[in-house]
Symmetry: C2
Subunit: 215 residues, 2 copies
């Protein structure tokens, strides 16, 4: 069964991006530190066309995420590389380069209708203007028997959480305090989490916590 | 070496107590659910004079905390059972009953000087009016070769975090969203966490995460 999943690195104080994001530092101050464990893995490097990297427990976690993802949903800001005036740049898809790492269909939530964009390596960007449920439906259809991953950012994940549509959340908790930025589990309007803890993995400097909707 | 430690159950969205605490519900709405894993353990029940309880991985974690604690520091509100007008009740120590579960010296941070109170079973309450560092010093001296535990609440833990005085933090992360209340890792004034992840334990419905200052 295709699951709607969200997989993200989070600071101990709950932020998935630090304060004051810029074009040069789209994850905000300190935000990149959340991803050190992932960027060091062989799987991440391979999917981004780079050699080397670690083959460790983190790599297994990362490989699992890539292997099971058949489609991705992301917000407009994530598509175009962050917040700011460049957000409405018609060439904003340049952010992801000629060969984006997804290698599957990506659905971008936006208010601006736009023709789909096909990139090298199997990534297509389709722009969805009629809401998160429509995006979920389209992504499920595109994912086949694989899962759909919510790419981010925080506000997109929050919309899906509020709507009760997420089947699984995996948090990679890093012992940092960012003290500001985008907090994942905020603005949930009193939503309850209908998810059970199904797996906890200890890795050096990061805890991989998985929560899933009871089936 | 005596460590200054903080050990607390926390919701996935970072709260250690829910919204709207009352005398009947001092942990706020939903707050008690954070402690279900702990209250079910044989060790917790034993220290609170009750028979039965689980002997499982949670019990081992709980037993470890009790065994290593030689003194406790807590805030005035925790001493008197919560926020509210009863806070200045001179009989507020009635909250903890005749035989409190600590069974060691407890130091209460307060602005109101007051004579120490000795209870049955080894618990003494000493009132500290000259700040968190003084309380830490007195508690360290009282703990001998055991550790000092910060009992809470959130604002007391935050004061010690801001001052960089905590040697170890253990979080018991429960997959609940409380959506409001007392958030542990807030109001830290840009403090960095000089703590490394040293242990991650998977238990049914709770993840026990331990962070320690590098020695």
């Amino acid at each position: 069964m295709t699951r709607l999943t969200f997989d993200i690195s989070m600071s101990l104080d709950g932020y998935i991006a630090g304060p004051n994001p810029t074009l040069e530092e789209p994850l905000g101050e300190g935000g990149e530190l959340l991803h050190e464990w992932g960027l060091a893995t062989a799987t991440w490097r391979e999917t981004h066309g780079r050699p080397g990297g670690e083959r460790n427990i983190d790599d297994e976690v990362m490989a699992e995420v890539f292997a099971r993802s058949g489609a991705t949903i992301m917000g407009r800001r994530m598509f175009s590389g962050g917040e700011g005036p460049w957000e409405d740049d018609p060439n904003a898809d340049a952010w992801w380069g000629d060969e984006p790492p997804f290698r599957h269909p990506v659905f971008v939530l936006t208010h601006h209708a736009r023709e789909p964009v096909a990139k090298e390596g199997g990534t297509t960007f389709t722009f969805v203007t009629d809401g998160i449920e429509s995006a979920a439906e389209q992504a499920r259809a595109a994912a086949g028997d694989k899962d759909v991953g919510i790419g981010g950012g925080a506000s997109v994940a929050q919309q899906y959480l509020r709507a009760g549509l997420l089947d699984e959340v995996q948090l990679h908790v890093v012992p940092l305090l960012l003290g500001g930025g985008a907090r994942l589990l905020d603005n949930l309007g009193g939503a309850k989490l209908d998810l059970e803890q199904v797996r906890v993995i200890e890795a050096p400097g990061v805890a991989h916590l998985t929560y899933r909707r009871p089936s």
